[in-house]
């Protein structure tokens, strides 16, 4: 797909976070956010998802702070001149999010540990895609070149299932990866991993993502939103996961007569 074409294509985005029905009532600990940023040079998409630690008293608040701060940091980044060329350092994002969590901890008169959250971010522009994360969320991308769905960074959960790594924890590892342009992307919380990722091959489950992206390309995000939430809340999905689920799904919409990938 030519860069000029990628510049002008609009993004279609669906985003929702749904609390696990088996857990305590309430909003759940997952928070999602996204922004489409039009600069003089290009159209950028930013998608972010955070999952507050169940063991932390203010896990959801931590997730909200992390999502807001990551969106701010990334928006500032893409609005800079030469945003498409200069390298981005994950340490900058880490510092920014850690500081926001520390400030929130001070406001709440508690420790950062009580705001522990995972975070996964994806930024897509005309010449580059950038992924960054801490913890066990996932960013999945569909390459512009060959339409394959990839999971470039394996969710980091340490060795055992009920242990993970969080923003704000100095022992945590942040990961990032630079990729060529993509035609679609998704960021998701660990609650969706059992149905969205094939653990044996460590790859995204292709029918899951191509099915979702296909619907979004054919339809209008505003009209699909309710069905999207219904899907994330459906009993057949709840049978396969016992956690909150959240997903931001974004596709570039090809113009009339353009190339519509599967």
């Amino acid at each position: 797909m030519a860069e000029k074409q990628l510049n002008t294509q609009a993004w279609q985005v669906l985003a929702a976070a749904v609390a696990a029905p088996r857990k305590r009532p309430g909003l759940g600990d997952d928070v999602v956010g996204h922004k489409v940023v039009q600069t003089a040079a290009a159209m950028w998409l930013i998608a972010v998802c955070a999952d507050g630690a169940g063991s932390a008293r203010l896990g959801r608040r931590g997730a909200e702070v992390a999502v807001r701060q990551a969106l701010l940091w990334l928006q500032t980044k893409v609005q800079r001149k030469r945003a498409g060329q200069t390298p981005w350092m994950v340490s900058g994002l880490q510092r920014s999010v850690d500081r926001a969590l520390q400030a929130e901890a001070q406001r709440q008169k508690t420790s950062v540990r009580e705001l522990a959250t995972t975070l996964v971010c994806a930024v897509a522009g005309p010449t580059r895609t950038w992924l960054a994360q801490v913890g066990d969320g996932a960013a999945v991308v569909q390459m512009a070149v060959n339409s394959a769905w990839l999971l470039p960074i394996w969710p980091d959960r340490g060795e055992h299932v009920n242990e993970t790594l969080f923003a704000g924890d100095p022992r945590s590892r942040w990961h990032s990866q630079e990729l060529p342009p993509v035609q679609a992307l998704a960021v998701l919380s660990d609650g969706l991993l059992p149905v969205a990722v094939d653990h044996a091959t460590r790859q995204p489950f292709q029918p899951f993502f191509s099915g979702l992206a296909g619907e979004l390309r054919r339809g209008e995000a505003a009209q699909l939103h309710d069905a999207f939430v219904e899907f994330l809340s459906s009993p057949r999905l709840a049978e396969r996961t016992d956690d909150d689920v959240s997903l931001v799904l974004a596709v570039r919409r090809a113009e009339a007569g353009g190339d519509v990938p599967a």
Binding site: D51, N162, D190, P194, L224
Partner: protein, 259 residues
């Protein structure tokens, strides 16, 4: 002793892969004044990966030396049956909790290799011989290492394993190496090790093997102990990826243990 790793791997796969039925449409949704139509649901056809459940492995190290003969071994046997029944009644735990039993009475024996609770049958326990506890602990740790490798080879996620030692005596073999191995495994968060003494068990030795304070069983409360164990494993196996699980205190006034 242990079954062949490849056979165990095949068993893991067979026990957990299944595909979801794909519903294409929801028919007959009512619209307007009696107008009915077949409406296509946008995301109804999405398929899910056929992923196996994450595993929650637990090794029981059971003293079956001669001193356990009589009412102790009989109560232990009943406790095991209850443990199986309670975990089998839970739809998630029965697919996630895996149990292996190592007995030590005269010799160390793998009485039951790792299996998910839904297909677990407690072995018949026979009390006989001395108490090779050190070798049993080493066997349990080795068994866990092998099991984790099988999980990794099969792309299965797993919880931090549990090891549960029950004895009414003291080791008659060299247990210090085993104690070091347990402490290293605990420090590296490779295992959560619990030790329980029955009757005249040497609690000082147990305190040197386990990093957690060992518990003394009250009387013959084997069944209450196994009820606590099944409740705890059920909570752990259903915890979210990031949840810390608070366990019930077994040494509470009405609990099965004293410290």
């Amino acid at each position: 002793m242990a079954s062949h790793p490849l056979r165990a791997a095949a068993k893991i796969r067979n026990s957990c892969t299944h595909t979801m039925p794909v519903e294409k449409v929801r028919a007959g949704k009512q619209r307007g004044l009696g107008e009915s139509m077949v409406e296509r649901l946008p995301f109804a056809a999405i398929e899910f990966a056929a992923n196996p459940e994450p595993r929650c492995p637990c090794v029981l190290l059971l003293d079956t030396s001669a001193s356990m003969a009589g009412v102790r071994i009989a109560e232990l046997q009943r406790g095991l049956a209850q443990f199986r029944d309670e975990l089998q009644a839970d739809p998630l735990a029965r697919k996630r909790v895996e149990v292996a039993i190592v007995t030590f009475g005269g010799s160390v024996r793998l009485a039951s290799d790792f299996t998910v609770i839904e297909s677990f049958e407690p072995p018949r326990l026979v009390a006989d011989g001395l108490t090779p506890m050190g070798a049993a602990v080493q066997t349990g740790l080795e068994l866990l290492r092998g099991r984790k490798q099988i999980y990794r080879d099969n792309g299965l996620a797993y919880y931090r394993p549990w090891m549960f030692l029950l004895t009414d005596g003291e080791p008659n073999d060299d247990w210090r190496e085993a104690a070091t191995a347990v402490q290293q495994a605990e420090t590296g968060r490779q295992v959560a090790f619990f030790a329980v003494g029955v009757g005249e068990a040497n609690m000082d030795v147990l305190a040197q093997i386990a990093t957690r304070k060992p518990l003394q069983l009250r009387g013959m409360m084997f069944r209450e102990m196994f009820q606590w164990l099944s409740n705890s494993l059920r909570s752990v196996s259903q915890s979210g990826l990031t949840d810390e699980v608070a366990l019930a205190n077994p040494a509470s006034p009405d609990g099965w243990a004293k410290v």
